[in-house]
């Protein structure tokens, strides 16, 4: 059974940032289902349906993936690299959401195939862009 709502998978180890993202999304017009994993390893487990994540009713495949860069086990870049190597997620837009405004991080994210690069905290423009990624999943524009 396919969940009609778009699913946003957020990989984020900081509770505060999860709170701010959820709050920002709730304040927007987007109808969504937010799934949160707290490290890089969990992110890949979720996507490949390992263990608990095999239940796709409870853990549906995401429409958009938001990755923090600094995470335990696997960092955001490693997860991004892994995703881009999976044929199943070829079409799934991945955005980086980080506190780093550094150019080298921005460049690396783009090189590894991220569709968007957001600097925390999420601003109205951030949410607006996420909405656009949900509607046009093929869009690979990078900010």
């Amino acid at each position: 059974m396919i969940n009609p709502k778009p699913v946003i998978l957020l990989a984020e180890d900081d509770d505060n940032d999860v709170f701010f993202m959820r709050r920002a999304l709730q304040k927007s017009q987007i109808d969504f289902l937010l799934q949160v994993v707290t490290d890089g390893q969990q992110a890949t487990d979720y996507l490949s349906g390992h263990g608990d994540f095999s239940n796709r009713e409870k853990h549906p495949l995401p429409t958009v993936i938001l990755l923090d860069l600094k995470m335990p086990f696997l960092d955001g870049f490693e997860v991004l690299t892994w995703i881009r190597a999976q044929a199943a997620f070829k079409a799934t837009p991945v955005a980086v959401l980080t506190s780093s405004a550094e150019e080298r991080d921005r460049r690396r994210a783009r090189e590894l195939g991220a569709c968007a690069y957001f600097v925390k905290p999420p601003k109205p423009e951030t949410i607006q862009e996420i909405g656009r990624l949900i509607q046009e999943p093929q869009q690979r524009a990078v900010n």
Partner: protein, 765 residues
């Protein structure tokens, strides 16, 4: 007359009556002839003829001649039908040994008149039979005197005969071999001798005796000329003889080998130099082919040389190699010249071979040293220098084995580079050294013959197995310190001399210098590498630190700030004004802290990031920044004027962009509250630089504060009035410095400020 068979005499008889023979009938008149001759048989025939005439006409004859002439003449007279013993018995023929007769009246090389007359008068008295008959006399005493170069005596004796002629009816014939008058020095004597006679008879080879005085004189002149040319020829011959002796001495004692060969390459002569250079004795090699001297691989040189010789060409300084008798080789420079006979035909060759072994060796040494020097100067690695040094030593010493051993860190001498040494040998002798480790300025050790060396049995065996028979240990030292050794080996016993080892010593010095220089260089490089590595590490740690700050340090600040905002948004209505004001302060502080962190990150990134400088269009960059600013901060109401065509600079665009933005922000920020900010930007050429001016109408900075303005966290104005982190201008200065420029400010502290940033110009002035 019928007994006269000489055609010349016949001729003389028929055409000339003033000759000796024509005076047969001259009664009472004394005659004195002189006959020059060249051949003995002519003389003998002539005299026999002359004497026979006397017997024919019943006269007497006196013969004073050498015993040889006497017997020959008597024999001839006998064949004419006259009996010499009979005539002698009857007092018509007298003969004397000229030499013996001469000795009777010569007193110390001068004929004595009295003694002469004492001897001759009695003879003539008898012969003339008391002046009753004529006498024909032939004498060659004068000739003997001339042969002894005693011309004065001869002339005097002729005069004495002439005196006798006055008192006796004598026909006297004198004869001189022409050879005695070859030479200008005797021409005067010849003259006088001719003068002493009434008739001069030329030699058998001259033209027929002249009829007239005039012709006679001519004949004499011809004779004189002949005498002179003979003299000249003798002089030339003597010179040539002398010359020949000189040449042969030169050839014999020359250092060079001087060899002659025929056109088949067969050696025809061989001097001492050739014996020295090639080792063959003359008797061993003359008659053998010159190919004997040519090494097997050069035998093809000879046909070419012979072909060129046959064409009459000369071969100059042809440098080649020849083989000695003992089979060793010698470097020679050959000069081969064709030898020609009188007709110009080439019949052989002279070959001068100069031993150029020493010169070649000197050249090789020079070349080897030059090559080594250029390698030492250019080589990047020590092994290349070792290689070049071994090459050079092998060439200089004429060997194929050499090695370089150096002390390792444990003080053991180990092979570093070698030529033609087996692994077994190297393993067996490694570590051996003739000097102590701490020997100061050790000296070379030369072993001319390994059998006489004082090595351990183990070493001796290894050396013998390697078939080494001589070796030299040359210490490699630097400032007296022993670094290792340079080995030179020979397969045969070898007599080492200090002179011979001179080039090798030079090579060793070069190697020592190179090793030491390389070691110093390597130490320095290692030090630089270590420092660079530690610096890199520090930079990497700094990067990590900055990265952490930008990720981790900002997170809690942001969280505080965000929660305060959430509180304000969600619960603002329930809070009183005080609470709201505090919340605003929290939010404001959070924003400020975040900006501070970001500025510090920018500043530190600027300090450490590697930047590449390029020409930048300052005009375009500045206008972009100004437009962006006006778009983002329309509320500032600032009036920004940029002059036309700002000059291009060389810099790093991101850093320059950051600096200009900061200056622009700065210019607008520090303006008095109710004043419209006005900013004017323009460029100015300063020698090789371009200075960008940013002038504002702000509050200005008092000169006494200006020096602090560009330091991190320095603020000249109270924070409450003008918000800022105090890092902006520090970033400007740091950026300018990183780009090879500088930044500064001019202000009187009242009428605004003029900030500037100066960078190298992109266009030449």
């Amino acid at each position: 007359m019928n007994r006269v068979d000489s055609p010349l005499l016949k001729n003389q008889k028929s055409e000339n009556d003033s000759g000796a023979d024509s005076h047969d009938n001259d009664q009472g008149e004394s005659q004195h002839f002189v006959q020059f001759y060249e051949s003995e048989s002519f003389l003998e025939t002539r005299v026999a003829e002359f004497i026979s005439k006397a017997f024919e006409s019943g006269d007497a004859a006196v013969l004073i001649a050498t015993p040889e002439h006497c017997s020959a003449i008597e024999k001839l007279i006998s064949t004419q039908g006259f009996s010499i013993p009979e005539l002698a018995k009857t007092g018509r023929y007298f003969s004397f040994d000229a030499k013996e007769m001469l000795s009777r009246f010569m007193l110390t090389n001068v004929p004595n008149e009295k003694l002469f007359y004492r001897e001759l008068r009695p003879v003539l008295d008898k012969a003339t039979d008391g002046h009753r008959r004529r006498v024909r006399a032939f004498g060659e005493m004068v000739s003997l005197l001339c042969a002894n170069k005693n011309f004065d005596a001869a002339i005097k004796l002729e005069g004495m005969w002439n005196d006798l002629n006055l008192s006796y009816p004598i026909s006297l014939l004198c004869a001189y071999p022409m050879k005695d008058f070859c030479g200008t020095s005797v021409s005067e004597a010849f003259h006088q001798i001719c003068h002493a006679h009434s008739t001069v008879l030329p030699t058998e080879n001259s033209l027929a005796a002249s009829q007239t005085e005039k012709e006679r004189a001519k004949t004499i002149a011809v004779l004189e000329q002949k005498a002179k040319s003979l003299e000249t020829e003798i002089v030339t011959r003597k010179q040539m003889e002398h010359h020949g002796r000189l040449l042969s001495a030169i050839v014999q004692y020359s250092d060079d080998a001087i060899i002659s060969k025929d056109l088949n390459g067969i050696i025809t002569s061989w001097n001492a130099g050739a014996e020295r250079i090639f080792g063959y004795k003359s008797e061993e090699i003359v008659g053998r082919s010159v190919l004997t001297l040519i090494p097997a691989d050069r035998q093809d040189e000879e046909p070419g040389i012979l072909a060129r010789l046959r064409r009459g060409e000369r071969i100059d300084h042809f440098e080649t190699v020849r083989r000695r008798k003992d089979g060793s080789y010698v470097d020679v420079s050959l000069t081969v010249s064709p030898l020609k006979d009188e007709s110009g035909k080439v019949f052989g060759a002279s070959k001068i071979a100069r031993d150029i072994t020493e010169r070649k060796r000197a050249q090789q040494i020079q070349h080897a040293l030059y090559e080594l020097a250029s390698t030492v100067n250019g080589a990047v690695a020590l092994h290349e220098i070792y290689d070049a040094a071994l090459n050079a030593v092998c060439r200089c010493q004429g060997t194929h084995r050499a090695a370089i051993l150096l002390y390792d860190s444990e003080g053991v001498m180990r092979f570093r580079a070698w030529r033609d040494l087996s692994p077994e040998y190297r393993a067996a002798v490694e570590g051996h050294s003739p000097w102590a480790r701490d020997a100061l300025s050790p000296l070379p050790v030369c072993i001319d013959d390994i059998r006489t060396a004082n090595f351990s049995e183990h070493l001796q065996e290894a050396i013998a197995r390697e078939k080494i028979q001589a070796m030299a240990f040359l210490p490699i030292t630097y400032e007296g310190r022993l670094l290792g050794k340079f080995m030179v080996y020979y397969d045969t016993p070898h007599h080492f001399t200090p002179e011979e080892l001179q080039p090798a010593q030079t090579i060793v010095t070069q190697v020592a210098f190179a090793i030491e220089r390389r070691r110093t260089g390597e130490n320095l490089e290692r030090m630089v590498n270590e420092r660079t590595a530690s610096l890199r590490e520090a930079i990497a740690q700094m990067e990590e630190f900055s990265y952490s700050i930008s990720h981790d340090l900002r997170a809690p600040v942001r969280a505080m700030q965000c929660y305060a905002e959430v509180l304000m948004e969600d619960y603002g209505g329930e809070l009183d004004e005080h609470a709201k004001k505090y919340l605003e302060r929290i939010i404001h502080s959070g924003v400020r802290m975040d900006r501070l962190i970001q500025d510090i990150l920018t500043y530190s990134r600027l300090s450490r990031r590697e930047i590449k400088l390029h020409p930048i269009s300052l005009d375009r960059l500045t206008r972009d920044i100004v437009n962006q600013y006006l778009e983002m901060k329309p509320a500032s109401g600032a009036k920004i004027l940029v002059d036309d065509a700002l000059m291009p600079v060389v810099g790093h665009e991101a850093s320059l962009s950051q600096a200009i933005s900061n200056l622009l922000n700065n210019a607008i920020k520090f303006t008095a509250p109710d004043t419209q900010p006005k900013v004017h930007l323009w460029t100015e050429r300063r020698d090789q630089d371009v200075r960008l001016w940013v002038e504002d109408n702000g509050i200005g900075i008092k000169p006494e504060y200006q020096h602090r303005l560009f330091n991190v966290f320095e603020r000249v104005h109270p924070e409450k009035n003008y918000e800022g982190t105090g890092i902006g201008l520090a970033i400007v200065r740091k950026a300018a410095e990183r780009m090879g420029g500088k930044a500064g400010v001019e202000s009187n502290g009242v009428d605004g400020s003029k900030f500037w940033i100066q960078l190298p110009a992109a266009e030449k002035s």
